[in-house]
């Protein structure tokens, strides 16, 4: 379980952004999360609930945007999904995945600010 560390990192990065923008009130934190990030979504949501207490983000929602795995399939010559995390082959032509273009994200993508 390293999701608490991850939740604290999210608040750190969000805190830096708030400081940079000068005393804004954050209503929501948007995080992009891929299945290859090594972070479990449900565990992160619970950890975030704990981590935000008694911080400037105590009332800020965490909005997670799932980033499904996308590969560049050489055989198809285009981007494709895969069968699953366990079967990393092109869902269209079954070729083995060798270039992952999406799915590793663990990114603070945006902040929703109160006016």
């Amino acid at each position: 379980m390293h999701e608490l560390s991850i939740a604290l990192s999210i608040l750190d990065v969000a805190g830096e952004e708030v400081e940079r923008r000068g005393n804004v009130q954050v209503e929501a934190i948007y995080v992009r999360l891929g299945p290859l990030s090594g972070v479990v979504k449900e565990a992160l949501i619970s950890a975030y609930e704990l981590a935000r207490e008694q911080t400037p983000f105590a009332s800020a929602r965490l909005v997670i945007e799932d980033m499904p795995i996308v590969i560049f399939c050489n055989r198809c010559g285009t981007e494709r999904p895969v069968h699953s995390l366990q079967e990393m082959r092109c869902a269209h032509c079954d070729a083995p995945a060798d270039r992952i273009v999406q799915g590793r994200e663990l990114q603070l993508s945006a902040l929703e600010l109160a006016e």
């Binding site: 990192s9 990065v13 923008r21 290859l36 995390l85 366990q86 082959r89 663990l106 603070l108 929703e112």
Partner: protein, 232 residues
């Protein structure tokens, strides 16, 4: 309800969303980048190891350190452990410099812990550095430690389906090492199934099979290390 004074913008504006696009682990990534540069400048080749507890990681590392010293290389190791220094004590028998990183309740190593642990060593005095992560197949996958090569270990006693259960760690590693080959027969280890499962979660992944106990496969591993270090 009082009306706002004239000239004040209306209160009910839609929420303002600002793009940030920052990696959540950017601080770790920055430190890892600095470490990677320092390793490269000093000519140290760095290998990290992840596995479940009891996969034979320490035995494999002890043998690797000893054999590298026999080949006149200067290896060292950092060992992450939740509470004890048993692993470091075992590895010290190889005569190589070994340092413990006690992580307490933390289930993984972070780049800053590696950086702190290295302060007393001169990287120029080393050829190889091994970083043994905490025994865990989930948490370490998110953290870059500045390594050149990340190994995931799988012992023949753990079952062939381990890669399917922990696809992310296999996907974040560069190479898989199947350990305890001397027990393969007793454990009825299905090598073909293990290889198929590894290739299913990580197509094209390099796989080594070896036994630290009998030494089988160790020469191939050391040759590979020497080659990789030379070309890095």
């Amino acid at each position: 309800m009082s009306t706002p004074p004239r000239g004040t913008p209306p209160r009910s504006t839609p929420p303002r969303i600002v793009e940030v696009r920052q990696n959540v682990l950017k601080h770790n990534d920055e430190i890892a980048r600095g470490l990677r540069e320092a390793f490269h400048d000093a000519g140290v080749y760095v290998v990290s190891l992840v596995s479940s507890p009891g996969s034979g990681k320490t035995a494999f590392l002890e043998k690797t350190l000893s054999l590298l010293r026999e080949r006149n290389y200067r290896p060292a190791a950092l060992v992450g452990d939740l509470a004890t220094n048993n692993d470091a004590a075992r590895l010290a028998r190889s005569q190589a410099p070994v340092k413990q990183i006690t992580t307490g309740t933390l289930c993984h190593l972070e780049a800053a812990m590696v950086q702190t642990a290295l302060t007393e060593w001169r990287l120029k005095d080393l050829d190889f550095l091994f970083i043994e992560n905490v025994g865990n197949l989930v948490c370490p996958s998110s953290y870059d430690l500045g390594e050149n090569l990340r190994l995931v270990l799988l012992s023949v006693t753990e079952g062939e389906d381990k890669p399917l259960k922990y696809p992310t760690i296999f996907n974040s590693a560069d190479m898989a090492v199947i350990t305890k080959l001397d027990l393969a027969e007793a454990a009825e280890f299905d090598s073909a199934a293990a290889h198929a499962n590894i290739q299913s979660v990580r197509p094209g992944m390099r796989v080594l099979e070896l036994s630290a106990k009998t030494g089988r496969g160790m020469d191939a591993w050391l040759d590979l290390l020497a080659r990789e270090a030379k070309s890095s």
